[in-house]
Structures are given as structure tokens and as C-alpha cells.
């Protein structure tokens, strides 16, 4: 069967077999030990509808479900072929490395459904999967925003509503991580003149592990859902329906992807730069990806740990966060056993730096695009590069600002407030650098540039709403209200969504050799940006007028119905505009006119090779001889594709005879 040749299909089959194996393993073990198959005998399946059945039938078998999910991921990865080479190495078999389609005779498009080692293919795989998740998360938002458009609407059941907002949050986070992975994996090797990443097999693994992760996360909605929000705080999460476990496990695997992928980016950036490319001659995006990767590599472990601890609390009774559990010894600070606040410390130690993972690459894209379309150097390149590192560093020191009213020790509030406000300084350096880059330019308004500019305006709203949340007294009013929702949507859109779209439009001609439709691109921009402004300002306004977050409806008397209606409509406009982009890029462009090698007249390395790029992007080693952003200086060269014989004569990076 030809469809079985697709890795994705084999992966799904392997995953299902793994799941069945894991499930049976636990049930079998229980039965062998004389225990009943059902872990919780009080839970009975509700057979009234298919949905109710799915939501209730699995709950009594929670440990089997968890082990099943783990083996689902293992089976998937074996089935898709992401571990084949490594398993061969364990048996001592050499595996030659090759570029291009793995199975001779399969069409080019099949590469994207298989394990492929080319970073360009992997980048596209990340990107497409990310866009798919954006669609799922966006659809969920459309549904619950319908209910919130007017006061006291209740057509969605409360538990279903809570599941939807929880799923929306984490699926969007997954989409962002995938988008970040897309940009890093696609662009970093191109920009440093490398033909691939340092560890291509690891790269493929890091992409594919996202698929079982995303599937587990999405399926959580159907096996009982969960009502904890994307933050999963115990004790609520330790009491939540079964869906919370698949939420935990889905996040675990997506997090694993983050860690492995970022490791690759760091090593690649350190070891595979072209001769002549000193650190301060790298394109600024590589700095952004590098800073992002440092965060991903280290902090992600903490969300894995904190979720693992709740998972174990649920199935093993290990009461880390359960104050009312059995007591071994009564600690005088709190009654009983565990402390729910510990979870928040561990969780936010990742989840705050995570937001810098979400935005640093996008801010790097803005810094990358502005010089090209203003035709002048990036203002203060070194400062901008350092600001990414500074944001990453300071970002590790602020996590407890999510916990100002959590009941943590009061004396911690002031230091965390100070560190939180401090992040504004390197962020400001970026903003002012963008202004300096635009000033005195010769600006061209193509769609990528429009989205970069839109990103700045939207990120500005997000950034400016940060300090009121950073000072504790005002945070005591605003935390957990829609003000926060407005703040983080603005920062997420400004720091990721807009720049990601800008990057899609910008590199689309390079990747495909075709030019997108500029008019439709402009239409997308002019629909999405004003709509987003309306959505942000609306959310911020209602948050200061009594609208809590994570609620299914609100009272008439708050008087915010009109603002909420505008927020919902804005959301629909944004959704529609994104559909226009998808139609533009993925449908209409197939018959579009061909784009040349360098339609944007960029100095970047990848623009000096043909579009679409050959499998081996750089046939000869690029030698960097100048600055990346020296636009406006006639005769200044960034890179030289010197013929091979001259290479040894140029001292940079090649230290003459290895």
C-alpha cells in the first residue's frame, strides 16, 4: 500500500500499537497482581452520546491511559523512522548520511511526511504543523469568543468552556514553539552559510516528537477535558478530569522537542559559521535564535518536572502539592503535607522565560527586515545583539511576578518587581534601534515590511501594558483579569504572530521560487492590524472594568457588552485575514510568477543563491568579508563566494591545515 510509505502514516500506526501495548501492559500487570482493572471503581461510563462516552469511559483506567500515551509516543517515533539510524548504531551498523529524498522514486512532496534530514524540509514541517495548530487554537477561540460576545450567554457547558480555554492556551503555545522551531531551523544554517545543522538526525527527531505531543494534547479535549487553564495548577489539576494527564504528556513531548531542537541551534551556531563570520557579523536573527535556544535548553525541564510531579501525584499519590494528604510529620508552616505554591514556583520558572522564547525570534525577524526595506544599516547592531542575550538572562529572574497574589512569601514581591521592570531596558534598546533604522531610510512598503511594522506597533501595546502588571500594587488589581489577557495577546502577536507572518512572506519567494500576491498580502495586513488593535484595546479596557479571565460569561451590570462584542468581531476579522494569507501562499501561489534569486535586494547569504534553493544550499563555502547590514554604502560586500583555491589564502576562520 503506497500510503504506508509515508512516515506519518507509519508513525500513527506505530503509535496506536504502542498505545495498545502500554494500556494492556498496565491492565495486565494489575490483573496479575490481583487488582481490579479499574483504578477508580466509582467511575462509570456515560453512554448517552458518543461524546459523553469518550469523555467518561477512560477515566477509571487512568494509569493505563498514562502509560499508553507514553508508548504511543515511543511507537510513533519508531514507526515514523525517527530513531532508525540510532537503533542501527546501537547494533554497530553504519548509516551513510545523504540529502534528498530518502526513498528513491517517491515524489518530492512525500519528503514532508517522512523523516527527512534536510533542515529546509524540517523547517517547513515545523512551519506547516505550527500553522495547523494555530488554526485549531484559533477555532477554539472563535467558539468561546462567541459566548463572550454578549453578557450572560451560556450555550457552552461550563466544563466544555473551561476545556476550550485551556486547550486554546496550550495549543497556541505549541503553535508558537513550532513556529519558532520553523524559523530557527530554516534560517540559522542559511544565515551562517552552513548546509545543514550540526545534528540532522536529532533535528528530525526533534520535529517529529511534536506530532505525538500535539495529538495527545488535542485528544485531551475528548477524553474528559480539563478545567485548569493552560497553567495546570494543583490542587485543581490533581482533581481534574482525565484530560489533564494527556495535556501534561502532550506538553512533555512538545517540551522535549524544544530542548533537543535548541541544543542543535546552539551547537550549529558555535561550530558551523562560515569563515569570516565572527559573532558580530552574524545576521541579527542568529543572535535572537541563539538567545532563545539557551532559554529553551535549560528552562523547559522545569515545566516537564512540575507536570510530571502532578502526574505522579495523581497516579501514585505522591503528595507534593497536596496539603490535605496523609501526614508523615507535620511541618509547622502549613497543615498536612504538600504546598501548592511550590508548583507555581517550578512552573513559572520555565513559563516566564518561555515567553521570551516566544518573542525573541520574532523581534529578531523585525531587526532583520527593517534594514532591508529601509536600505540602511541596523542601528546599533551590537547593542541589539546584546539586548537579546540580556532579555534572556533577566528573563530568568522574574518568574514570581506571576505569583504576586499567590500567597508566596511577601518579602519576595519587591525584588521580583524590580527585576520585572528591569526587562524594559533591553526591550527599549530594541525599539529605539528600530526607530533608528527607519530614520533616514528609503522605505519600501512590501508585505513583509508591513508586518514587521505592524509587529512593532502591536508589541508596543503589549510592552507598555507590562509595567502596570509589574508593580505589585497595580498587579493586585489587574492580575487574573482580562487586562492580562490583553497584555499577553499583544505581546504574543507583536512578538511572534506578526513577525512570523512577515517571515513567511519574506522567505516565501526564496523557498518556493514564486512570488506571493502582493495585493492580497496588503489586504491581509490592513484587515489584521486594525482589528488586532481593536481587540487589544478592548481586552485591556474590559479587564479594568471587572472582567475576570477564564470565565464563561459575565454580568450585564458590568456594562462591557459592547466592548466584548468588538473584541469578538475583531477576532473573527483576524481569523479571516489569516485565511486570506493561507489562500495566498498555499493555493494561489502555485501559478504565480516566478521570483528571482533576490527580489528584496538583500545582502543576506541565502539571497545570493538561486530561488528555490538547491538541496545543497552553498555549493562553495561562502567567505564573509564585510558587515551584514551595510546598505547604503556602495561597493560594500558582505560575502564572497570565492572559488576554492583562494579559500586557504584568506585567513578568516580557516586556520590553515586542520
Amino acid at each position: 500500500m503506497r500510503v504506508l510509505k509515508l512516515g506519518l502514516v507509519r508513525g500513527l500506526l506505530g503509535g496506536i500499537m504502542g498505545w495498545l501495548f502500554g494500556f494492556a501492559l498496565v491492565i495486565g500487570a494489575r490483573l496479575a497482581l490481583g487488582l481490579p482493572a479499574k483504578w477508580n471503581p466509582n467511575l462509570v461510563a456515560d453512554t448517552s452520546t458518543v461524546w459523553r462516552f469518550l469523555a467518561t469511559a477512560f477515566a477509571p483506567y487512568e494509569p493505563a491511559m498514562v502509560v499508553g500515551a507514553i508508548f504511543f509516543a515511543i511507537g510513533f517515533m519508531i514507526g515514523v523512522g525517527a530513531v532508525t539510524d540510532w537503533l542501527k548504531w546501537a547494533r554497530g551498523i553504519e548509516t551513510p548520511f545523504h540529502h534528498g529524498a530518502r526513498i528513491p522514486g517517491t515524489p518530492e512532496w512525500a519528503r514532508y511526511f517522512n523523516v527527512d534530514y534536510s533542515h529546509k524540509v524540517i523547517g517547513v514541517q515545523y512551519g506547516i504543523t505550527g500553522i495547523l495548530l494555530l488554526g485549531v487554537g484559533g477555532t477554539l477561540a472563535m467558539i468561546f469568543r462567541l459566548q463572550l460576545a454578549q453578557p450572560e450567554l451560556n450555550f457552552v457547558q461550563p466544563d466544555a468552556f473551561n476545556t476550550m480555554i485551556s486547550a486554546h492556551g496550550m495549543i497556541m503555545i505549541g503553535a508558537i514553539l513550532l513556529g519558532v522551531g520553523a524559523m530557527s531551523n530554516y534560517l540559522v544554517p542559511l544565515m551562517i552559510g552552513a548546509n545543514d545543522m550540526a545534528f540532522p538526525r536529532l533535528n528530525a527527531f526533534a520535529f517529529w516528537i511534536n506530532v505525538p505531543g500535539a495529538l495527545l494534547l488535542s485528544s485531551a479535549m475528548f477524553i474528559g477535558g480539563w478545567n485548569t487553564g493552560w497553567t495546570g495548577y494543583p490542587p485543581l489539576s490533581s482533581q481534574a478530569p482525565l484530560g489533564v494527564q494527556y495535556f501534561f504528556l502532550g506538553v512533555f513531548f512538545i517540551g522535549l522537542s524544544s530542548i533537543l531542537g535548541s541544543l542543535n541551534v546552539i551547537v550549529t551556531t558555535i561550530t558551523m559559521r562560515s569563515p569570516g563570520m565572527s559573532l558580530f557579523r552574524m545576521p541579527i536573527f542568529v543572535w535572537a535564535a541563539f538567545a532563545t535556544s539557551i532559554i529553551q535548553l535549560t528552562a523547559t525541564q522545569l515545566i516537564g518536572l512540575s507536570f510530571l510531579m502532578v502526574l505522579m501525584q495523581r497516579i501514585m499519590g505522591m503528595g507534593f502539592f497536596d496539603p490535605g494528604g496523609p501526614v508523615w510529620y507535620e511541618v509547622d508552616k502549613w497543615v498536612g503535607g504538600g504546598n501548592p505554591i511550590l508548583f507555581q514556583h517550578l512552573f513559572w520558572f520555565y513559563s516566564h522565560p518561555a515567553v521570551y522564547v516566544f518573542i525573541l525570534p520574532g523581534l529578531g525577524i523585525i531587526s532583520e527586515l527593517l534594514p532591508v526595506f529601509s536600505r540602511k544599516p541596523l542601528f546599533g547592531y551590537k547593542w541589539v545583539a546584546m539586548s537579546s542575550m540580556a532579555i534572556a538572562l533577566v528573563g530568568f529572574l522574574v518568574w514570581a511576578h506571576h505569583m504576586f497574589v499567590s500567597g508566596m512569601s511577601n518579602f519576595l514581591r519587591v525584588p521580583f518587581m524590580m527585576s520585572t521592570l528591569l526587562v524594559a531596558v533591553p526591550t527599549g534598546v530594541k525599539f529605539f534601534s528600530w526607530l533608528g533604522t527607519l530614520w533616514g531610510g528609503r522605505i519600501e512598503y512590501k508585505t513583509p515590511m508591513l508586518f514587521a511594522l505592524g509587529a512593532i506597533s502591536v508589541f508596543l501595546i503589549g510592552g507598555l501594558t507590562g509595567p502596570p502588571l509589574g508593580t505589585v500594587a497595580t498587579d493586585m488589581n489587574l492580575t487574573d483579569t482580562y487586562f492580562v489577557v490583553g497584555h499577553f495577546h499583544a505581546t504574543m502577536f507583536g512578538g511572534f504572530v506578526f513577525p512570523f507572518f512577515a517571515a513567511l512572506y519574506y522567505w516565501f519567494p526564496k523557498a518556493t521560487g514564486r512570488m506571493y500576491n502582493e495585493r492580497l498580502g496588503q489586504l491581509h495586513f490592513w484587515l489584521m492590524t486594525p482589528a488586532f488593535w481593536v481587540m487589544s484595546l478592548g481586552q485591556i479596557f474590559v479587564g479594568t472594568h471587572g472582567m475576570r479571565r477564564r470565565i464563561a460569561s459575565y454580568e450585564f451590570e458590568l456594562g462591557i457588552g459592547d466592548a466584548q462584542m468588538m473584541v469578538t468581531i475583531a477576532g473573527f476579522v483576524i481569523f479571516t485575514s489569516v485565511l486570506i494569507m493561507l489562500a495566498n501562499l498555499f493555493v494561489l501561489s502555485w501559478r504565480a510568477q516566478r521570483a528571482g534569486a533576490n527580489p528584496w535586494r538583500s545582502r543576506g547569504l541565502e539571497w545570493q543563491v538561486p530561488s528555490p534553493m538547491p538541496e545543497m544550499t552553498y555549493a562553495t563555502t561562502p567567505i564573509v568579508v564585510g558587515e551584514p547590514y551595510d546598505y547604503g554604502k556602495p561597493g560594500s560586500t558582505y560575502v564572497q563566494f570565492a572559488p576554492a583555491p583562494l579559500a586557504p589564502a584568506l585567513g578568516a576562520g580557516v586556520t590553515g591545515g586542520d
Partner: protein
């Protein structure tokens, strides 16, 4: 390859590059015997080839030859390219005008230093021409063999007019923004804390307005004034940065941040300060309702939060041990605090405006989170005292049913049990419940009398009616007083 690294002394060798033979002859003539012309070529390829062989000291390039404008000089980094100078000149009549000077150095700190000082490399280029004023000097990093521009863009006065216009616009927009932001109607205030919080928020709004204006005006101004007009070729102004500016816009925000940090600490202290004469109210949250105890007044398990105006209150907050995290928030009071199982917390509020407000749970706690509300009334002294007295009196049986109706809403029952008769809720409808025959999931059945009702409130999972799930919270035994339990049952009796 020999190299004439001493500026004077040995004769320099020169290579002339131009597409025009006349130029080549003219230059050669001008040079006379100041330099030995070792070659006269027409293209860069020939330069490369000749250079490898002859290694000239200076290359004289025709500035007017358009195809020599591509000044990619890295091919000239051939081995032993010490002290190579490249000069772009135009020739008119007998005058050679130097337009650009480049120096390629192969080794040696001395060369680098000379180049950095902007010193002219040697004698030969000096004597026979007029030099134009602005010539970029290139320096070389010898060990890396690359060329780098040395001059940083200086702040030329050509943007002065623009800066004046932009500054004026920023000022105007800032004023409008700040006024506008401060004018947005605020949610009503009802506590002394609200005054502090709103004051700080206004301060924030002021800074937000200014920064918003600064960034947006500069951006929009640039987008309009510095756009590429149709037909315009060429690039933008080439400046790479300005260290003074960078330092300024790092230090000024840093100072601002520190000031806000201090203000933040001071306001936090103000908002959380212990007052003399505080009244303690114990707040217990459960899924999904609230319970208030006034230990100093001897009132227990009240379901409405009544407070006397201008009386500082210390709320002692706790969530039941097997319960989840909730949050105490009255929007008019402007402060909130989580209620965490096992971790007692506190919140201080001094309500100062009489009125009816609402307490809303502000931390997602499950199914009933949206409606986990309680009425809050800030009363004058007389009314409050009357209410206290009322709480302690016995309640008549008829009033019990009314009390029960209120409890249906305030204790979270309403989240799952409707009174309309609709069987599709999370829990069975209360309409017609009392006295009906209940069928359970284990096959048994029972008439719903008072004892059954009491049991199904206090031990909700002991018997489950078919078609419903065992999800009712089990903590009502801790939450409801005997009177409240009676009240609910009385209420149920009235729902036929």
C-alpha cells in the same frame, strides 16, 4: 615577492586599471618616475592575475569606469599583499582627482596604526592631485584579511529640521495620549487601597502615553518622510549607530525603572500596611461559594459579606484543605489575594464608600468558577450594627425557605442544579425533587424525603441518580451550618 613597505626610498610600483586607454596613458604620464608602472589593464580579472605575479604597491583605478565600480577588493588579498593601496581617481586634463583611497595591509601593526590614524600611506599619491574632502579610509584586520570601514557615521546636522518637527509632534501626541488615557472612565472605587492603586495606575498611564507617542510618532514620521518616492533610486542614509544615543536610551529607562521600583515598593507598603483597630473577617472559599466568619462579633458562616464603612478589615483567607485555589477580589476594592489550601493568606482592605458590590472568585477553580460570587455590602454604622444583631437572632421557618433560595445561588448549588425543571444540567433539577422517587445507578431507588436530601448534600457520592455523574463537591458538611441545611431543605419543599 618583494614589498616596498617603507614610504620613501624604493620606488613604488603601480598598476593602472581603466577601460579607457587614454586614461591609462594620462595617468602613466602624470606619475612620471614617482612610480614604476608595471601594468595597465582594463578589468579586475586582469588585476587579479597581474597582481598575483607582480604585487604592485598601488593600484590606480578609473573612477569613471562604471564596471570597475564594484569595489570588491578581497581578490586583492593575495599573499604578500602588504601595503597595497588602491586609489580611485578621475582625470581631467592634467589634473588627477582622488575620490577614494583604500589601503590593504597584509601584516604588521604599523600599517594598521597608520591606517587607523588616517595617515596617507606614502609619498606617491600626494604630489600631483587635488584631493576631495571626504574619503573613507579603510583599515584591515591583518590576521583575518578582511577590510572594514573605519569611520562611524557622525551626526551630521542635516536632520535638525526633522528632529524639531518630530519633537513637536511627539509633545503634542503625548499630551493628547496622556489626557486621553487618564480620561477613560474608571471602574468605581470603594476602598482606601483603590485610591493608591489608581494613583499608581495613572502614573503608569502617563508614562505609557509618553512612550506610546514617542515610538509611534517617530515611526509614522519616518514611514512618511523617509519613504521611497516613485522613481527614486538609491539607498538610505548610511549610519550604523551612535554610542552616545545608545547609552542615553539605556540609562534613562534604567533610571525610570528604578524610580518606578521605589514607587512600587512604597505603594505596596501603603496598600498592605497593618492598621490600628482592624476588624478580622475569616473568609473560607470552597467549590463554589463563600463563607464569612466574624470571630470578634461572634457571627459564623454568613453568606453575605457586610462591612462597616471606613473600618479597616483584615481578611484571613483560607481554602478548605481538600479544595482548590480560589481568589478573593472585589473590583471596587482594587486588591486581591489567593486562597490556597494549606496556606493561610491575608488581605487588608479599608472600604470607604458605601454601596453594594460583588465578590468574584478570581482564580479558575473548576466548573462553578464563573458564578462563584457573593454579595458585598458596605454599610454605615447603624445599618451594620442592625445586621449584626439580626444574624444572631433566630430565624422563622418561613424565612428559612427564602434563606434557602439565596443559598441556592450563593453556595454554588446553582452551578449544577437548576430550578426550572430542565433535566439537562450537571446535576438533577430541584424542581419537583422533594417527595419524588429517585432511581440510582446501582439499581436501587428511594423517595426523596428530608433524610435523603440531607444525606445527598452531605455525602453526595453515596447514591448517584442515573444519568448523572458523581461530581458534586463533598465539602458541604464543613461549609453549611445546621440552619443553612434546614433552609435549603425548606426551599426544596417549596419547589413543586
Amino acid at each position: 615577492m618583494t614589498n616596498a613597505s617603507t614610504p620613501s626610498g624604493a620606488q613604488q610600483t603601480a598598476l593602472i586599471v581603466s577601460a579607457h586607454p587614454l586614461f591609462r596613458e594620462g595617468i602613466a604620464r602624470l606619475l612620471g618616475d614617482q612610480a614604476q608602472v608595471i601594468g595597465s589593464v582594463a578589468s579586475w580579472q586582469e588585476v587579479q592575475g597581474l597582481g598575483l605575479v607582480q604585487a604592485p604597491d598601488v593600484i590606480i583605478v578609473d573612477h569613471d569606469s562604471s564596471d570597475l565600480q564594484e569595489k570588491d577588493l578581497t581578490p586583492l588579498l593575495w599573499p604578500d599583499a602588504d601595503d597595497l593601496r588602491v586609489i580611485y581617481v578621475t582625470l581631467s586634463g592634467d589634473k588627477m582627482t582622488v575620490h577614494e583611497r583604500h589601503q590593504v595591509a597584509g601584516a604588521g601593526e604599523a600599517d594598521l596604526l597608520r591606517a587607523l590614524k588616517g595617515e596617507r600611506p606614502g609619498a606617491s599619491a600626494r604630489s600631483t592631485q587635488e584631493t576631495t574632502a571626504s574619503q573613507p579610509i579603510y583599515t584591515v584586520q591583518p590576521s583575518q584579511g578582511r577590510m572594514e570601514r573605519m569611520d562611524k557615521g557622525t551626526d551630521k546636522p542635516k536632520y535638525t529640521r526633522h528632529f524639531i518637527v518630530v519633537s513637536a509632534l511627539v509633545a503634542v501626541v503625548a499630551i493628547i495620549s496622556v489626557i486621553g488615557l487618564l480620561a477613560v472612565p474608571k471602574f468605581p472605587q470603594a476602598s482606601t487601597q483603590a485610591l493608591v492603586v489608581d494613583w499608581l495606575m495613572d502614573l503608569h498611564l502617563g508614562v505609557i502615553g509618553i512612550l506610546f507617542a514617542l515610538v509611534m510618532v517617530f515611526m509614522l514620521y519616518s514611514l512618511f518622510v523617509f519613504r521611497r518616492k516613485p522613481g527614486e533610486e538609491g539607498d538610505g542614509d548610511h549610519f550604523e549607530g551612535n554610542t552616545k544615543l545608545e547609552i542615553t536610551w539605556t540609562v534613562v529607562p534604567l533610571i525610570t525603572v528604578l524610580i518606578f521600583g521605589v514607587i512600587g515598593a512604597v505603594t505596596l507598603a501603603e496598600v498592605t500596611a497593618a492598621q490600628d483597630d482592624e476588624m478580622t473577617v475569616n473568609v473560607t472559599a470552597f467549590s463554589f461559594g463563600w463563607q464569612f466568619d466574624y470571630p470578634e462579633l461572634g457571627i459564623e458562616k454568613a453568606t453575605t459579606l457586610n462591612l462597616p464603612v471606613n473600618q479597616p478589615v483584615l481578611f484571613k483567607l483560607r481554602s478548605l484543605d481538600q479544595d482548590v485555589i480560589h481568589n478573593f477580589y472585589v473590583a471596587e476594592f482594587r486588591v486581591k489575594q489567593d486562597l490556597v489550601p494549606g496556606v493561610p493568606t491575608q488581605l487588608r482592605v479599608t472600604p470607604n464608600v458605601e454601596g453594594a458590590y460583588r465578590l468574584r472568585c478570581n482564580e479558575l477553580c473548576g466548573t462553578g468558577h464563573t458564578n462563584m460570587l457573593a454579595p458585598v455590602n458596605v454599610l454605615n454604622e447603624t445599618d451594620f450594627t442592625a445586621w449584626v444583631a439580626e444574624q444572631k437572632a433566630a430565624v422563622s421557618p418561613e424565612a428559612l425557605a427564602e434563606l434557602g433560595a439565596g443559598l441556592h445561588a450563593s453556595q454554588g448549588c446553582i452551578a449544577c442544579h437548576n430550578v426550572s425543571g430542565d433535566p439537562g444540567g450537571v446535576g438533577p433539577t430541584w424542581k419537583g425533587l422533594f417527595g419524588s422517587t429517585r432511581e440510582f445507578t446501582d439499581g436501587t431507588s428511594q423517595v426523596a424525603d428530608e433524610e435523603y436530601l440531607r444525606n445527598s448534600i452531605l455525602n453526595p457520592t453515596s447514591e448517584i441518580v442515573t444519568g448523572y455523574a458523581p461530581v458534586m463537591p463533598a465539602n458541604y458538611a464543613d461549609v453549611l451550618s445546621e440552619q443553612q441545611l434546614d433552609a435549603i431543605i425548606e426551599y426544596l419543599k417549596t419547589l413543586e
